[in-house]
Symmetry: C2
Subunit: 249 residues, 2 copies
Amino acid sequence: MTDTQTAPLSPMTRKLALWGVLDADDRAALLALPYTLRTMEPEEIIVQEGQKATHSCLLRSGFTYRQTILANGGRQILAINMPGDMVDLQNSLLHVADHSVVALTRCAVAFIPREAVLELAFDRPAVGKAMWFDTLVDASMFRAWIANIGRRTARERIAHIICEFAIRLEAAGLGRQNHYELPMSQERLADCVGLTPVHTNRMLRDLEHDGLIDRAQRSIRIVDWPRLTATADFDPAYLHMNRPGMPQP
Amino acid sequence: MTDTQTAPLSPMTRKLALWGVLDADDRAALLALPYTLRTMEPEEIIVQEGQKATHSCLLRSGFTYRQTILANGGRQILAINMPGDMVDLQNSLLHVADHSVVALTRCAVAFIPREAVLELAFDRPAVGKAMWFDTLVDASMFRAWIANIGRRTARERIAHIICEFAIRLEAAGLGRQNHYELPMSQERLADCVGLTPVHTNRMLRDLEHDGLIDRAQRSIRIVDWPRLTATADFDPAYLHMNRPGMPQP
DNA sequence: CGCCCATTTGACAGCTTTCAAATCGCGTGG
DNA sequence: CCACGCGATTTGAAAGCTGTCAAATGGGCG
């Protein structure tokens, strides 16, 4: 009866099904979760660090980011979330949010009560397993970012995150691997890789000058994927998208 | 009948019980997991990046670290594990290890077959929930390290990791918050925070010179915890040890 | 057309790295 | 007990990458 293609929570079932087999009942239970839809404007705070997270969020459209603000005033972005992502499993399962979640662009979010998510996760092992794996993949991306920021030069860091977005945006159906729209300012990009906006700008210019990418506004075109991945030391394994048919252009 | 204080797998039940209530059957099932004990020497590789992880590991004594080696030759340490930690839940649940696990000191490890862990996690929801939370806390620490490396100065980074070890070592019963033995060389410490060994040494010297810490070999004595945590911008919330009775000296 | 914010550029300071060499601690062997 | 040897720690000097500060340019929108 329900059209699972357009049901508000259907992106979640698609994503979770990547991590394990979900039967019809599992999917139905996911789609039957209670939720409230809301539209958020850019920079609007979805989850505030330090507060008890009462809801889990499913990102339906647009982008969000996780961030920490440090005492020295610095902002560090911890992850970028894309449509279909369960934005807040980690915060809502642990008792208190250890980081904030903010709207990067205008976006549509479905808020699901924390208890309903937990109940479903433990009533239906397949769903729980898929959710667990989803958080494990998030952790894998955190590790990749630690290595990126800790041990790569500015140029390599920028190249790496450009590669990551290429793969993830294509997987989310929001661009092609060799051409996509960066959903953020250079200042936010800098906050992702631990650089200043000024230096981020210079590295983008250099990558363009060296013929690895082309830019127009925030649109990124990857001119030389092999050379870009080589300078970035990019290996998509950490994204755990081991599905067939992810060709390199 | 079994002495759960000395049973090889008992540290795991203690740790997991922090994240949720485990009844007697849950504990018994955990202790009944099949395992192989092994002693590893420093720098011995426990899990190799890129390989299929067939076992989960429980660290019984000693320390291990997770690492990634980059194409430019750099080494980035992603986490330090302490006795009682499930060293390899993430690698063994995802299909292929996206990072290596290495013995930091001589250590005793119990290898548990991956299938047995998974089976238990999904047979006993309380155990599965505790394991899931354990991986979520790991992820929280990854996020804290991203912020540490990305947006703090060298001095702040070193101060921060000294604070983290103080809290975690005390929680593990391996030192006091104001005096503990650092289980690694300055070179490894540098690999944790994305600095060179030389600069790490200078920052340690400065912190000592400024009266925040005292050192003798690898023994760290925290002289001024309030000032150290202030310069580190250290808030232990990300460790999710919200248990009563964790006083600040 | 004019305003506002993001992007871009220049010059310079400064933090961190690099490269070398000296010192220290500790286990081993005389 | 003391000398030796090796790895870890420590220090110095200089280079270089990245940050800071300011100003110019550019694009979108009222």
